[in-house]
Amino acid sequence: MSRRGARRFVADLLRGRRPRSFRAQDTDVDDLRAAITLRSAQPGSGVPREEFVADLHQRLADQLAGKHSTEDAEPVRPARVDTTRRRLVAASSLAAAAAAVGAVADHVLTTRTPAPDGVAGPQTLVPNTGSWRTVAASADLTEGGVQGFDLGTVVGFVSRTGGALRAVSGVCTHLGCRLALDVPTRQLDCPCHQTSFALDGELLRHQLRVPPPALPQLEVREADGAVQIYAPPGPA
């Protein structure tokens, strides 16, 4: 009788849908298990969607910050969850598991974390071992000028504004794509997700659920007519 349920389950799996519930018989179980084994071997299937990861992060942050009281118990799971079951699970086996790990210290988790950018101030990269490496001649970096550099170990952009030099990393703080300088707007654009940074490293624009942090700063100086960055040694 449940053959049809099992077939529909497999058809749903193949369409990438959530399989519909049915009362499975023992004889169905092996078929379903084989279908799941095969389906989970499809290339790329084990990687969560980026939107899912960002969205869940946000929901968890809200939950831990107490935007929903514990009694609501539904902030993260969609409505189809049976609340009775949730409470039961939370109260029994998981409490035991938590006890095994250690005492509960709720405040550690619920402490509001600072925003990823800004609050902690920009990060400055200071490598354990580094040296001053020339990236441009002083004469070539005039007022308002910007220049990209690639030192093998570090890539970035150095600019001169109001007479002061500033250097920032040239790697997007979201997932590590290399930023490109857009000359007319004087901003650094990520080719992957339309994130943009200012030349001082501040985040200008993004489409992500969680704003990526500002670009790390690099130490920069001018010596002997050259603009130099403090960077680790590496391939020339």
Partner: protein
């Protein structure tokens, strides 16, 4: 203080996004507090500690998801179950537990969540998280665990050619029945029959091997 300093343990793993500036800024603050800041410690990975829940999440979300996908075979369920694991586990979690302990706890939670899923949807435990399943096994960004791919490959290798082919086309390459039928030069009706028989044969194999 010692405990706090240990917690700055660098995250050696996790998706690129995981190394947030927050993690780094914390680390730097605390290193600066240490009297012996001149000699930075190299942290042993097995002795890792997470600085906060976000680090727990970033380092493990892809691992939990991959594990769940391998057990349910579809994205909507894998996403819901991953969400349930973190929602259930994070609140009572003690962050000062070591990374290994945190993962063990996530795994225990995942086992309970998966069992509940099957009880709710089919009334039978189709798949379970066993002691062989681990959150450590593969790097967090591997597309599928070697284990999952290996089991499917082993299963397919034991099947006759036409069975193997239809299952590959439908399950691994996500072809429609029509596309699979065209690729194999058979009718759509026969492709459906073949797929059904092939899956039964694959299921029977598993019974023998287990």
């Amino acid at each position: 203080m010692v405990d706090a300093a240990r917690r700055v343990a660098r995250m050696a793993r996790g998706p690129g996004q995981g190394r947030s500036s927050f993690t780094k800024s914390r680390a730097e603050e605390q290193v600066a507090d240490e009297p012996s800041a001149g000699t930075p410690l190299l942290r042993v990975v097995s002795d890792e500690f997470y600085p906060d829940w976000e680090a727990v999440y970033r380092d493990n979300v892809a691992r939990v998801y991959r594990l769940m996908f391998a057990k349910v075979g579809n994205r909507p369920d894998a996403e819901d179950l991953t969400a349930e694991v973190f929602a259930t586990a994070l609140r009572p979690l003690r962050v000062s537990a070591s990374a290994a302990e945190v993962r063990a706890y996530l795994l225990v939670t995942a086992r309970t969540v998966l069992a509940g899923h099957w009880r709710r949807t089919l009334g039978r435990e189709v798949t379970t998280l066993t002691d062989e399943d681990s959150l450590e096994a593969a790097p967090a960004d591997a597309p599928t665990s070697a284990d999952t791919a290996g089991r499917a490959a082993a299963m397919l290798a034991q099947l006759p050619e036409s069975y193997r082919r239809i299952l590959e086309l439908r399950f691994l390459e996500s072809c429609s029945v029509r596309e699979a039928a065209t690729a194999m030069g058979i009718s759509v009706t026969y492709a459906k029959v073949l797929q059904h028989r092939a899956l039964r044969a694959a299921a029977a194999l598993r019974e023998v091997s287990e």
